[in-house]
């Protein structure tokens, strides 16, 4: 199973609809400071259910919506969609038969978030359940954010314990 593509629109600096197609193996994301690389990481965290604004470097969840630039006005909503290749049926259950599984999240400034699995509106809970079998989600070590690695090794023993507890 792997991530085939990422779609973003109105998400942080990715105001225009953008499609990122990924390689099943090693992908390098490059570009100058401030161009939007870590924003892609935030987008992936967000669409798989992140609800802590701080984890997304914001102060409120609506901070992920494009806030405008000198030349452009802010927009009213943000959307991110991940399409997973599931031909190995690593996601089983009711979605096991699908070779492509899409997870989408939308948010507007005046409303909350809405989740969609294969286009069907779902609860955040459903998305978490869908992905938890695959090792994604809180407590997993699949997303290492910028500047966070050294604190793992400087952590107090009780925090290191907590990290390992969250794995099991």
């Amino acid at each position: 199973m792997f991530l085939k593509s990422i779609k973003l629109a109105g998400f942080k600096s990715f105001v225009d609809p953008t499609l990122i197609t990924a390689n099943p193996r090693v992908n390098a994301i490059v570009g100058p400071n401030g161009c939007g690389k870590s924003n892609i990481v935030d987008a992936i965290r967000w669409v798989i259910g992140e609800i802590s604004a701080k984890q997304l470097r914001g102060q409120s969840m609506s901070d992920v919506i494009f806030a405008g630039s000198k030349q452009r006005k802010p927009v009213g909503k943000a959307m991110v969609e991940l399409i997973f290749d599931n031909t190995d049926a690593r996601i089983g259950g009711e979605y096991g038969a699908y070779s492509d599984i899409s997870v989408r999240r939308e948010v507007s400034r005046d409303g909350g978030s809405t989740y969609y699995v294969n286009g069907v509106q779902s609860r955040r809970r459903d998305v978490l359940d869908l992905l938890s079998g695959t090792g994604l989600g809180s407590g997993s070590y699949s997303i290492i954010g910028q500047g966070t690695v050294s604190r793992l090794v400087e952590a107090k023993p009780e925090d290191t314990r907590a990290h390992i507890e969250e794995l099991g």
Binding site: N27, A28, I29, R72, I144
Partner: protein, 160 residues
């Protein structure tokens, strides 16, 4: 639960003991409990780069800490492997030789896991199967361009 935590801890510890000397080309590292009570014990990280005798993990250098942390991250990752792993500039404090050793490890793990590496480092960029270049031609607005190796290396250097 006490037993589940103990099981997970033993597996992470074992994986960490194997990964550390592999990345450092020697030396040793382990995890230790701080008390006998499995319900409440803390977990201490111990690490010795090759040839050194360490009193505390805090005395390690910036690069040594980063590499030790990645050995631990991958040891934990292996217990609950997701389909992909995203690493945002984890190579920033590493010198070139350590970057290439780290890239070797990622290459091995990439046989089973998809990787997304964000990096400004030429060596890291060069080991990728595909490069996505992010640009901000219009200030404040991100775009993606697929780039070849030469373009990617150049892009790692410009400013938005």
């Amino acid at each position: 639960t006490r037993e589940l935590f103990k099981q997970t801890y033993m597996k992470v510890k074992e994986a960490f003991q194997v990964l550390f000397p592999r990345i450092f080309r020697g030396g040793s590292a382990t995890l230790e409990t701080t008390s006998d009570d499995w319900l409440t014990t803390g977990i201490q990280i111990k690490a010795q780069p090759p040839g050194k005798r360490n009193t505390s993990i805090h005395l390690l250098s910036g690069g040594e800490k980063a590499l030790t942390a990645m050995a631990l991250v991958f040891a934990m990752f292996q217990q609950n492997p997701a389909p992909f792993c995203i690493l945002d500039e984890v190579d920033a404090p590493l010198d070139d030789l350590n970057v290439s050793r780290f890239c070797d490890l990622v290459q091995t793990m990439a046989n089973n896991t998809q990787f997304f590496m964000i990096s400004h480092n030429k060596l890291t960029i060069q080991m990728a199967d595909q490069m996505m270049g992010i640009t901000m031609q219009e200030p404040g607005v991100s775009r993606i361009v697929s780039v070849d190796m030469a373009q990617a290396i150049e892009m790692a250097g410009e400013t938005a």
